[in-house]
Amino acid sequence: MSNITQSLYNIRLLDELGEKKTVIHQIHPLAKVLTTGVYLVVTVSFGRYELSGLIPLLFYPIIVIALAEIPVITMAKRVLLVSPLIIGIGVFNPILNQDPMIVLPWIIISSGWVSFLSLLVKGVLTALAALLLISTTGITKIALALRMMRVPKVFILQFLLTYRYISVLVEEVGRIIRAYSLRSPREKGIRFSNWGSLTGQLLIRTLDRAQRVYYSMRCRGFKGEYNVGREVGIQFRDILYLGGWSVYFLIIRYFNISELIGSLMIGVGK
């Protein structure tokens, strides 16, 4: 139940954030989609045992969060729920690989731990990138970017419809489950004998709804083709945004900034 309210809340919050009008929100959606792409590829291209090199990648989400006025704590909560698969798989690394890797005067850290940490950091960074994309762009503009990337209109319309009706159907499922659990307080989930009828009835209602939606689309001249609005032109600042970040990401990829700063510090110290 909390799952349901939570997911609706989640979608609506990100929707709301997407409506803001900050510098970042005004960047062309296509530029943001591509920047996110470059960022993701660079992030995951780091090797299994690279940790310090990943840290400068944090500048991107931090700057975007600050400029786009995204609430830090709400974002952090979401990101901490990193895919269970990452932890599930990553947790074996320290067990399976205990060779020392980082040797400091007071502690020796095994490469298993380094690779686990590296995985977690990547998990956080990639999750942040996706959430920041949607919360600084909004679904409508994502659709626009997809259109400019030559994604077929049929798919985009279908994608938008799914998005739109998630609200309606999740609420409906919420009502059904509430009604069900009120009459079966001791059960953890839907009883076996009700699996088919509960879900099936919802499915039939959904199909009827789809038909009504189709009717109302047809009444407004729908002929199988989705007509998107005006394509917004790309401006110089959009190219600059994409170019600037890409160059920065590539520099990070080729030079370990953290280590450079570190050796500089040590050098100065000596």
Binding site: R212, V213, Y215, G221, G229
Partner: protein, 252 residues
């Protein structure tokens, strides 16, 4: 402007499951008329409306809008002149924002984007919800949803407005606002409803459906005040026309 008349001739329709929803319906609605269609659940109201916009096609009989028969071929013309507001606004508001939704129809007619924007603004302004332009539909109240649903139809600049239960699930204030709004429209209006008082206020003419047939058709006051007819069709005389429960005085 006689070409906006709507003519229904001995219309019959049977659903695939064998239910005879319409069994010989006849009427003629002329330009600028405001007509209420009332009847019990299952009397065939919604089925009738779907024939007016060409979602369903008759098994027998015919429907003419102006001088054009409603057939698959004439649909683009029909749908530009007849706009339908569905009973559940959630079925009609299928795009992620109000703007995109209202723009959906005009865009389908390949209008230039400036014209689309102009129409969206006009339509939203007419129903008084221009400020909701960039909202997602789930953030609208019931009344707002209804208003936007009407705007989606107005943006197509129809001559005839067909509405299925427009006041269903509205709070009294939203209902009142909607009635006032609709009173201001000069379109030909065809409204189905169980809200007898709304029909009484909005429509000068009322058609009563029973078991897929027209059981009465005439001036609203005459039809709705006929207690016997109303009882017979599982309806009720509008409260406005009933005697005052406190003082017993009758309004008419």
């Amino acid at each position: 402007m006689s070409h906006h008349k709507i003519e229904v001739n001995s219309l019959k329709y049977q659903y695939t499951d064998g239910r005879q929803a319409l069994n010989g319906v006849n009427f003629l609605i002329t330009h600028g008329e405001s007509v209420g269609i009332v009847g019990a659940n299952g009397a065939g109201k919604s089925t009738l409306l779907m024939h007016l916009v060409g979602i369903l096609f008759p098994n027998e009989g015919e429907v003419n809008v102006g001088d054009v028969p409603v057939t698959k071929k004439t649909l683009p013309v029909i749908r530009q002149s007849v706009g339908m507001v569905f009973q559940n606004p959630d079925d009609q508001l299928f795009m992620p924002t109000v703007f995109d939704d209202v723009a959906f129809g005009p865009r389908n007619y390949q209008l230039p984007e400036e014209e689309v924007e102009k129409r969206v603004h006009e339509a939203l302004d007419t129903v008084g919800v221009l400020h909701l332009k960039s909202r997602p539909p789930y953030k609208l109240s019931g009344g707002e949803k209804r208003a936007v649903a009407i705007a989606t139809v107005l943006a197509m600049k129809p001559d005839v407005l067909v509405m299925d239960e427009p006041t269903a699930a509205l709070d009294p204030k939203s209902r009142r606002r909607l009635i006032t709004l609709l009173q201001g429209f000069t379109h030909t209006k065809i409204i189905t409803s169980h809200d007898m008082d709304m029909v009484f206020e909005l429509c000068e003419r009322t058609i009563v459906l029973k078991d897929g047939k027209v059981s009465a058709d005439g001036p609203t006051l005459e039809v709705l005040s006929n207690r016997e007819l109303m009882e017979d069709c599982s309806l009720e005389v509008p409260l406005t026309l009933q005697a005052c429960p406190v003082c017993g005085r009758n309004n008419i």
